[in-house]
């Protein structure tokens, strides 16, 4: 990295940053700097993202024609299973928390590092071990159970590599728990003087809440996978109905993790959007306190809605009623967040920079995904659309439309901070818009196909669904191109990009007060915090005269 600094360019640092602190492979593999570990994660999950993407490209190609043309049903099953396992556990769950959470959370609270730096590195190695199991599974021939490992299929009937796939998820679960413990302890113990709980940026709040969900739900997934492994490997009868076991029990245990896991993916995304929108609207975030309560409510209620995945499993109708009710309830805090983002835009001076485009895309896609979630919370509608493409469209809107949009938003928002380089803005805007259209083109038709009865997981379908599938596959091609674009121009920016000033967006968070990229210890001096986040002063005065007073009131807390 060239460090030639001309006289007069004071905004740029003249001391080693964390990237220049060592360049050998060993210095990276033994680092305990949270920023470098974040980079390690970023590289790892990017590889996984494109692996999972390659698998689903083949699936979408296969679905171009009604009766299939180049995959056997067996290969098809293994491809979509691999796609699900990789994308859920090796991309979506670690995506924002382990990269941006790791990089930014200590910076945002004014800390020199996370509470347990060596544990942080250890959890990256666990991710690698889990990833090795997953890749081995693929090389050995794959797994065909879907990402849910439903029993008794996974334990008794599947002739594929269930053991190593389950082991992969089991191991990466521990990485998740270790990261969660680390983030919780960091938020509690390492906040800078003056950084009170209600001055925390919402991104930190969302990472904190996500960590609680990780710590309390992941062990239950670990147990349910351990039981699957034990039953398949040692022949124990836990889920085998012919020997007194209970296959529904697996679904309860599995969804006790896997529904909260949706919030592990979405809460950090919400945090990212809450940082980007005030910055590019030059407005104080509307209803900060309620945003915090909504995060806590989502994390809490998220533990009590798993049964809506089991409306057709034969569970008691009373249980279904309660789970249905709770699933409607969890929409309330999510709606509060959407309303508050919208209100923050009102009378803002909005600039449509690429991070903002991704954030606005998130709001649109998350709202669509969330509203379709209400269909699924309602028992009669859910019975109609269970295991159809309606469900596929719904969770892709939340997990891909929501999470991945926000991931790219975060990538563009903090790229200058992380790398010290600026990227070509017009390319980034083009990619953001293409991604939005590609996404909708891929998944909107699936709502219709699913509602009309096209089942998920099938590799052939009646000809009447071909139009929807062709649209979907064409959209997927657009989407794939939109995902490859950032890979290219961001790599270009690493080599040729302009140097980034410490605060290119005139944002207010603590992370923008240190240099870009930050020095190894984050701050030269211990930051002191005397006000809440999002103190953007470019608000139009006509909006009301009481704005400064409100801000004073917050800074007294």
């Amino acid at each position: 990295m060239s460090d030639v600094v001309l006289a007069g360019e004071l905004p740029f640092p003249q001391r080693p940053d964390y990237l220049a602190a060592g360049s050998t492979l060993r210095s990276w593999l033994t680092t305990t700097d949270h920023k470098r570990i974040a980079i390690l994660y970023a590289v790892t999950i990017t590889v996984f993202f494109f692996m999972g993407g390659a698998a689903i490209t083949a699936v979408r190609l296969e679905l171009f024609v009604p009766n299939g043309w180049f995959l056997t049903s067996d290969t098809y099953n293994r491809l979509f299973s691999f796609h699900g396992i990789i994308m859920v556990w090796f991309f979506l769950v670690p995506s924002i928390p382990n990269t941006f959470g790791n990089f930014l959370m200590p910076l945002m609270i004014g800390a020199p590092d996370v509470a347990f730096p060596r544990l942080n590195l250890f959890s990256w190695y666990l991710t690698l071990v889990g990833g090795a199991f997953a890749v081995y599974t693929l090389i050995a021939g794959g797994v065909d159970t879907g990402w849910t490992f439903y029993t008794p299929f996974s334990t008794m009937f599947s002739n594929t590599h269930v053991l190593t796939a389950a082991a992969a998820v089991f191991v990466v679960g521990f990485a998740s728990i270790a990261t969660g413990v680390n983030f919780i302890a960091t938020t509690h113990m390492l906040r800078a003087p003056g950084m009170t709980w209600f001055r925390l940026p919402l991104f930190v709040w969302s990472i904190y809440a996500t960590s609680i969900v990780m710590v309390l739900s992941t062990p239950v997934l670990a147990i349910s996978l351990m039981l699957v492994i034990a039953e398949r490997w040692l022949g124990l009868p836990i889920f085998d109905p012919t020997r007194g076991g209970d296959p529904i029990l697996f679904q309860h245990l599995f969804w006790f993790y896997s529904h909260p896991a949706v919030y592990i993916m979405v809460l950090p995304a919400m945090g990212v959007v809450s940082e980007i929108i005030p910055c590019f609207a030059r407005r104080r975030l509307f209803g900060y306190d309620f945003m915090v309560y909504a995060i806590i409510a989502i994390a809490g209620i998220g533990f009590f809605v798993w049964g809506h995945h089991m409306f057709v499993s034969g569970q008691s109708p009373y249980a279904s009623l309660i789970f249905s009710f709770l699933s409607f309830v969890i929409a309330v805090p999510s709606a509060i967040k959407v309303f508050n983002w919208t209100a923050s835009l009102y009378r803002g001076q909005i600039s449509f920079n690429s991070p903002m485009l991704y954030a606005l895309g998130f709001v649109g896609l998350f709202t669509t995904g969330g509203l379709s979630g209400l269909f699924l919370a309602s028992i009669p509608v859910d019975v109609h659309v269970t295991d159809t493409y309606f469900v596929v469209a719904h969770f892709h809107y939340i997990m891909v439309g929501g999470s991945v949009s926000a991931f790219f938003g975060a990538l563009h928002f903090w790229w200058p901070k992380i790398t010290g380089k600026m990227y070509p803005e017009s390319w980034a805007q083009f990619a953001a818009i293409t991604m939005y259209f590609g996404f909708n083109m891929t998944f909107l038709p699936q709502f219709f196909a699913g509602y009309l009865g096209m089942p998920r997981r099938y590799h052939t379908y009646p000809a009447e669904f071909q139009l929807y599938n062709v649209m979907s596959s064409a959209g997927a091609a657009v989407l794939a191109a939109a995902y490859l674009l950032p890979l290219m121009y961001l790599t270009w920016s690493l080599l040729h990009g302009k140097r980034a000033p410490s605060n290119p967006w005139s944002a207010t968070g603590l992370e923008w007060t240190t240099s870009s990229p930050p020095p190894p210890n984050n701050f030269d001096m211990q930051p002191l915090v005397d006000r809440g986040p999002y103190q953007y002063h470019a608000e139009r005065e006509s909006a009301g005269t009481d704005a400064p007073e409100v801000q004073n009131a917050r800074s007294l807390r």
Binding site: I223, M226, L227, G244
Partner: protein, 214 residues
Amino acid sequence: MTDATALLREPWEHFERQQRAGKFGIWVFLASETLFFGALMLTYAVCRVEHPEAFAAAGRATNIWFGTINTAILLTSSLTMAVASQAAAQSERSRTLVLTCLGLTAALGLAFIVVKGFEYKEDIDKQLIPGAGFALSQAAAQLFYGLYWLVTGVHAIHLTIGIVLVVRLIVLGATRRIRLRENPEIEVTALYWHLVDIVWIFLYPLIYLPGRAS
């Protein structure tokens, strides 16, 4: 080494804060572990409610002597671990006391594993492994024994990790590579150890007492 600076680590500026963070971190981890064992116990509860008689019959087939002796051993180790942790926390106590108590804890933990090994051998001899040739006639008794092998196995793995952590403290402390006095690692290890013995306090009645009360 007059003050605690020798024990201070990155990224902490004050030893007290580091100590509190260590304790806080292990409590969060223990909360996670509680759900880990909690899910196993939930599975046990569901199966037992569905098959009460088979579970009573299977419970009577366990060897209560091994279980009871092991309970006594593990609770005693809990005491020695607590003494070690308290002695280390107080600067006027001798390091011999700390090392002795840590040694006793590791030895008792090992004794538990040895007794468990004898019990496993007896179980294997009596064909109490689910699958073909299982000793008990009721089908659902296999469920009990499936869970028995899993929970005791997972517990034994946790205990083995605990023994390794305690032995590590003994080796580093005895060779004076770490200071034992006021070292927060001892309390953190002790908290983990107590989780392992508390889990056993739940496992003992679940495994050995069904069917024996009436």
